[in-house]
């Protein structure tokens, strides 16, 4: 239904372009991607946009270098881009305040997109109840990726684990076979991500939302399930040898790829490292959610559209949006990027084993939560990272200590 509508829309637009020849619009596209798989994925979008008769002017500012500051400086300088990759809800509120927001709820409904999105994606693209972003790529923050060859050599079957108890019970067997059971990297970023992934998996969506949601409920810190999460984190920390000190995630992944360790629990952007080393999902390496996990954490990369522009430019921006959410394009895009399509109805033949697994998990609305960057207060989240990283690094720090520190931080930051 939706596809027909979109194709119809596209066809109509192309006809219009062909007949008038004046509909072509140049869109300035602002993003932070330059890695080869990312560029290949962007080219899928560009081809779709050019098919609609528009052109693409590119501006790339790298990740984590204050790129949203830079977006705002372009806006201040009077040269705002038409389309920008941005997740931070604050930016959308600022733009709306300047009359430059473009609400998309109606457009999404008219094009029947929302019902095909996983619930966590639909939540991630909304700011204050209004859809303002166009979702383009999806990642899970904590997946288990394991080396199948090592699993076989050690005589364990990760898919048979139904809980963390099963998993940790096999660790001695794996060690006896001469492998590290799990590769970890002792870095605040990796530990912080592992912590929120574990919170979702072990303590479940309710506790997760009470801690990482927009409204924090400090009572959840005393929840036995949250204590259990920290105890589980301690078990991972015990696996960190001296070599794990400040080891970047991709080097940690290489421990698994090269067969020194069995598995890694990290964001599924790990897939890129595996593919770069010419490994095939489902054949050389397996991917699954955290054993017995109650929910997965979903990260969504999304585009914003500039409002307050002339009618024809706005139409071109919406054309861009319709390319991005097209199921076929989603499949091709995800295959290039190594991500998972944001639509549950993406064509199955475009998915690899890992993406299939992810979309299957996301079919259950109750089994998914949003990445904290979308919801949590930034200071509060930073303070959690600090506490869990200290907890990780100091074996003498107890779960009680960690919870007490978090409560103290809550009182200072949000209390």
């Amino acid at each position: 239904m939706s596809r027909k509508l979109l194709t119809g829309l596209a066809a109509g637009l192309m006809l219009g372009t062909a007949s008038t020849g004046a509909m072509a619009t140049d869109l300035v596209i602002y993003h932070s991607w330059s890695a080869p798989p990312e560029v290949a994925a962007l080219n899928v979008l560009r081809a779709g946009l050019e098919e609609k008769g528009h052109s693409w002017t590119d501006i790339a500012i790298p990740h984590d270098t204050g790129s949203n500051v830079n977006l705002m400086s372009l806006v201040t300088g009077g040269q705002p881009p038409n389309v920008f990759m941005e997740s931070n809800p604050g930016v959308y509120r600022d733009l709306a305040g300047m009359g430059l927001g473009l609400p998309l709820t109606q457009w999404f409904e008219e094009n029947n997109v929302v019902e095909n999105l996983p619930t966590s994606v639909a939540a991630a693209i909304s700011v204050d109840g209004e859809i303002v972003k166009v979702p383009t790529a999806l990642h899970i923050d904590g997946m288990v990726y394991y080396n199948m060859e090592v699993a076989e050599a050690a005589g364990v079957d990760p898919t048979a684990w139904t809980s963390f108890e099963d998993m940790f019970a096999d660790f001695e067997t794996i060690r006896a076979a001469g492998y590290d059971p799990v590769a970890v990297g002792s870095q605040p970023f990796q530990v912080g991500y592992l912590m929120h992934a574990l919170t979702a998996a072990v303590a479940g969506p309710d506790v997760y939302s009470a801690i990482y949601g927009s409204e924090v409920d400090p009572a959840a810190l005393d929840d036995p399930a949250f204590r259990q999460t920290l105890e589980t984190l301690r078990l991972f920390a015990n696996e960190a040898g001296p070599a794990a000190q400040n080891r970047p995630w991709n080097e940690t992944t290489n421990e698994v790829i090269s067969g020194r360790a069995l598995m890694q629990v990290h964001g599924d952007w790990m897939k890129g490292e595996w593919l770069a080393a010419d490994k095939v999902p489902g054949t050389d390496f397996g991917c699954m959610q955290i054993p017995g996990g109650k929910a997965v954490v979903v990260t969504v990369d999304a585009w914003g559209l500039l409002g307050g522009v002339p009618e024809d430019v706005q139409q071109a921006e919406l054309d861009f949006a319709s390319v991005v959410v097209d199921p076929e394009v989603q499949g091709a895009f995800a295959a290039e990027k190594g991500s998972t399509p944001v639509r549950l109805d993406a064509p199955a033949d475009s998915l690899d084993a890992c993406s299939q697994e992810v979309l299957e998990i996301l079919g259950d609305p109750a089994h998914q939560v949003q990445n904290p960057h979308n919801t949590a207060d930034a200071d509060w989240q930073d303070s959690i990272w600090d506490v869990v990283f200290n907890f990780w690094s100091d074996p003498n720090m107890t779960v009680d200590d960690a919870i007490a520190q978090m409560k103290e931080n809550y009182d200072t930051i949000l209390g």
Binding site: S34, D58, I59, H63, T65, S73, G272
Partner: protein, 310 residues
Amino acid sequence: MSELTVAQRAAGAEIAIDRAPYFPRRKKMITGRSIAVLVFLSICALFFAVPLYVVVVTSFKTMAQIREGAIFAPPSMWTLEAWDYAWNQACSGINCNGLKVGFWNSVAILFPSLVLSIALSMVTGYALALWNVRWAGPFLFLLFICAFVPFQIIMFPLISMTSTLKVYGSIWGVALVHSVLSMPVLTLIFRNYYKDVPQEILSAAIMDSGSFWRIFFEIIVPMSGNILIVILILQITSVWNDYLIGVTFGGFNAQPMTVNLANLITISTGTVAYNQNMAAALLTAIPPLVIYFLVGKLFVQGITAGAIKG
């Protein structure tokens, strides 16, 4: 024939002498102290050379060898692939034409920035040092204060101003901001240098009916060789290595090489190609290095001629 005094020598007095003056020199001996100094200096040199060594050898390795670890090992097979990729094919956003795009942008930014900033601060320094300018003292003090204002604080106002002047998002915008931001320090350097020009020269020039500009071009500029070298090196290095001004004021069209480099290297969810990153970093660092090698000697002369020591 008596010996020359030091002062006479310094004044360049030429008096015929029978024999070259003899300065007895102590014979060099290896002492505990000189060994200690040597060891200390070697450690200092290693401190900088070892990371550089790693950067250079990594840029010539293949990714397969890098994955093995052993960062100090020399390349098992020397290859220029990473260099070629970084220069010709690296992606900055969707455009995969390598760092050479940013290189030419950087060159295009460099020249207007140099001309604007040097012209502005040279004339200001000359006026403040040699002419009776009203409020010169307070003005200098103000400039001095401005040298300590961090760029980030005034970034957004500057964006609004360049936007009003219609230069935001162009090479001229970047050049203008560079010259304005470097003006305090450069003016102080020029002013201190010109302060040493004897007042008599200026008086004589005025008597010969020289105007402000004529004296500047015919007397002051020809005397400024040393200090210009110093300023050139300072400015070339700071403009070339700048990231923040280029990324903020360059808009879509004028992003310097450092932005391309950052795009290439800063990857959060992709794979890291260390050999390409190292090659790209070296490529970006080469131009200021070349300048140093070419005019490094003149730089030392310029500094000792009274520029910064003042």
